[in-house]
């Protein structure tokens, strides 16, 4: 055989496949760009700087929650209590900030407590699922009921307002740029730093083949607990964004967001079975959900049909996400 035959395209991975391997979030990015274009076609106003900033600050909480979910999915687990953790941190920081007077010190103190609370919820989930070896779906559903109970204890009815300092900062501007851009930049930096840690690689190793990871000497139980802790941490960050957006506490606010966070992870192109995930994809997945919702609105869909069209559109992009993700992994 002449050397030229070795150089045929079939002998090395195709260009598209190589791209997908290096940038697994590409399909999700393409969907986001397409949705942005559609939004612009139906209502040019929806692409204005102001609308996009608004979209970002509304869906930043879901972006954070989707990223939280991605870390447990990496290890082949799932967290159905992420939304309940978000609710709990939301009511806890609102109550603490009010109790401590609503000044800058109170806000920072409450946020530190919120992060610790989120971590604690995550560690509880990790212990229940990884150390006690309960099935993740049902066990985290049980902890979500427990966390919701605690949230209801902290704040029985929704409506306590967050201090003005908090939501004015989140919704306001800093040095001429919307504050939410700084949140996004900080998130990007955090994700970049995390992606260079050993933990993320370990999570993926556990998700890819738990037995193999164990046999190579990984402390599988500890790694999974750390994954849940990371999920709790990002759920707390999601709660901060949500509190900044809604400016109040609501003990049940997150319950509807859990399943959306799972959907966003799949939309982003990650495999629910674990071992192959992309946090950037999850970010785009959450944006996809936001853009679908706004598109349905801007298309002038009659209000009673909006939920149905949203549901159908999300089901279709979910299917597309699964198929594209599988193609990338194949």
């Amino acid at each position: 055989m002449t050397p030229t035959t070795i150089e045929t395209p079939s002998a090395r991975p195709g260009g598209l496949k190589l791209w997908l391997e290096r940038y697994p979030f590409l399909p999700a990015l393409i969907i986001v760009v397409a949705l942005l274009a559609l939004n612009g076609a139906f209502s040019p106003n929806s692409l204005s700087y102001r609308s996009l900033t608004g979209l970002l600050s509304t869906y930043m909480a879901l972006i954070m929650l989707a990223i939280a979910q991605t870390y447990v999915v990496s290890a082949g687990d799932i967290d159905l209590s992420a939304g309940a953790t978000l609710s709990l941190v939301n009511v806890a920081i609102v109550v603490l900030m009010e109790k401590w007077g609503g000044g800058a010190g109170a806000v920072i103190g409450a946020m530190i407590c919120g992060i610790l609370l989120g971590l604690a919820c995550g560690v509880i989930n990790g212990i229940v699922v990884a150390a006690l070896r309960l099935q993740a779906i049902v066990a985290t559903f049980a902890t979500s009921i427990f966390f919701t109970g605690v949230a209801l204890y902290v704040m029985p009815v929704a409506g306590t307002p967050a201090p003005a300092l908090f939501w004015r900062t989140y919704g306001g501007r800093l040095l001429g740029l919307p504050f939410v851009f700084y949140v996004l930049a900080a998130l990007a930096l955090l994700l970049f730093l995390l992606s260079r840690t050993r933990l993320v690689t370990q999570l993926l190793a556990v998700g890819d083949d738990q037995q193999a990871a164990y046999q190579t000497g990984l402390p599988v139980v500890l790694v999974r607990i750390k994954g849940y802790a990371l999920c709790g941490l990002f759920s707390a960050l999601a709660a901060f964004c949500l509190t900044g957006d809604t400016a109040s506490g609501d003990p049940l606010v997150g319950s509807k967001m859990t399943l959306y966070s799972v959907a966003a992870v799949v939309l982003g192109g990650s495999a629910l079975a674990g071992g192959w995930t992309t946090v950037v994809g999850s970010l785009f997945g959450a944006l996809t959900i936001g853009l679908v919702n706004s598109l349905v609105f801007f298309m002038g869909t009659p209000s009673e049909w909006q939920n149905f069209v949203q549901g159908l559109a999300i089901l279709l992009v979910l299917m597309a996400g699964v198929l594209a993700g599988r193609r990338a992994r194949a």
């Binding site: 159905l80 229940v128 006690l132 070896r133 309960l134 099935q135 779906i137 049902v138 066990a139 559903f141 049980a142 902890t143 979500s144 009921i145 427990f146 966390f147 919701t148 109970g149 605690v150 949230a151 209801l152 204890y153 029985p156 738990q210 037995q211 164990y214 046999q215 599988v220 139980v221 399943l259 799972v262 959907a263 799949v266 629910l272 079975a273 009673e304 049909w305 909006q306 939920n307 149905f308 069209v309 949203q310 549901g311 159908l312 999300i314 089901l315 979910l318 299917m319 699964v322 198929l323 599988r326």
Partner: protein, 318 residues
């Protein structure tokens, strides 16, 4: 001694012991909790959950991470369809049953096609379907009134039918017998376990895996539809998202019944006990005098505690 121990470790036995213990506890906390009337009422509520869990059970038994998150949506949809088809008239019961079964089978078929032909993981497919169903509910509820249950249906669910026991409990018993027969005595039942424990081996042995799996999702949809119909009879009229509560509790009932979420192992008798256990636990929590937050905390913690009794995963071994 070992025989006794392994008997006590059977999920069905655990569930039955826990049921008796909980009834005893409930009777002590509020006298009259374990009276015949109360137990009948708990059984009615449990039968609604148990019927949904029957469908959930076969999907889970079929393996490949089988799960149906759309059952809650189908229950709500079926309650609304039934209410409108019968609209308070006994003559409409049969058409309502047929319409509900058709709707349940249709959405089950869609789930099954997505899972088999497109190979979408069941969790994702049924989650997406749940969103579609919830949207559909909004559309339907905007266009038409919610409808009323026929007196005959309400009587079937709430009034004694024979031996002082309401018809729905007889229906649940019949479903239990049917499921036991189907799972242990028919080729179809054996094939469910076959594809659940080793899909590839089943395929090589000539089991029509795809058609089987589509069938399981259709069965799940139809059981959810029957439950929606009965739920309408229980409450008289349907309200928004009435079925939502069944989504995860049906899965928990299956787990409490000793069926592994990994598939291929378990049965329906345990699930019946699991559904009853769950309903009794909720019943106790509503009778004791604590506020909602405490109730949820106790409920969540108790669920975790009970799960410890059931099939925990294997420890990692080199």
């Amino acid at each position: 001694m070992n025989a006794v121990l392994s008997f006590l470790k059977k999920p069905l036995v655990i569930a039955l012991i826990l049921i008796v213990a909980l009834l005893y506890l409930g009777e002590n906390l509020s006298p009259g909790f374990a009276s015949a009337d109360q137990i009948l009422r708990l059984l009615i509520v449990a039968s609604l959950l148990g019927i949904v869990a029957a469908g959930q059970n076969v999907v889970i038994l079929g393996g490949r991470e089988g799960i149906d998150l759309s059952v809650g949506g189908v229950v709500s949809l079926s309650a609304i369809i039934a209410g409108n088809v019968m609209n308070g008239a006994d003559g409409g019961i049969v058409p309502a049953i047929l319409a509900c079964l058709a709707a349940g089978a249709f959405f089950g078929l869609l789930n099954g096609l997505g899972v088999t032909l497109l190979r979408i993981p069941p969790l994702v497919m049924t989650l997406g379907m749940l969103g579609v169903l919830q949207g559909l509910l909004v559309v339907i509820r905007n266009g038409i009134p919610s409808g009323r249950a026929a007196p005959g249906l309400s009587a079937f669910v709430t009034q004694p039918l024979a031996l002082g026991i309401p018809g729905i409990i007889w229906l649940w018993i019949a479903i239990g017998l049917f499921m036991a027969f189907m799972l242990t005595r028919t080729v179809f039942g054996h094939r469910i376990y076959a594809i659940g424990s080793n899909e590839h081996a089943a395929y090589m042995a000539g089991v029509p895996v795809r058609r089987m799996r589509i069938g399981l999702f259709m069965i799940s949809g139809m059981f959810a539809a029957i439950a929606g119909l009965c739920l309408l009879g229980y409450s008289g009229s349907s309200f928004a998202n009435v079925g939502e509560q069944y989504m995860l509790s049906s899965i928990i009932a299956v787990v409490f019944g000793g069926t592994s979420l990994a598939g291929g192992k378990g049965g329906y008798t345990g699930t019946m006990a699991g559904a009853l256990l769950l309903v009794i636990l909720q019943g106790i929590l509503t009778t004791v005098n604590i506020d909602e937050s405490g109730r949820q905390m106790v409920f969540g913690a108790t669920l975790l505690l009970l799960m410890l009794f059931y099939g925990r995963g294997k420890a990692m071994r080199a």
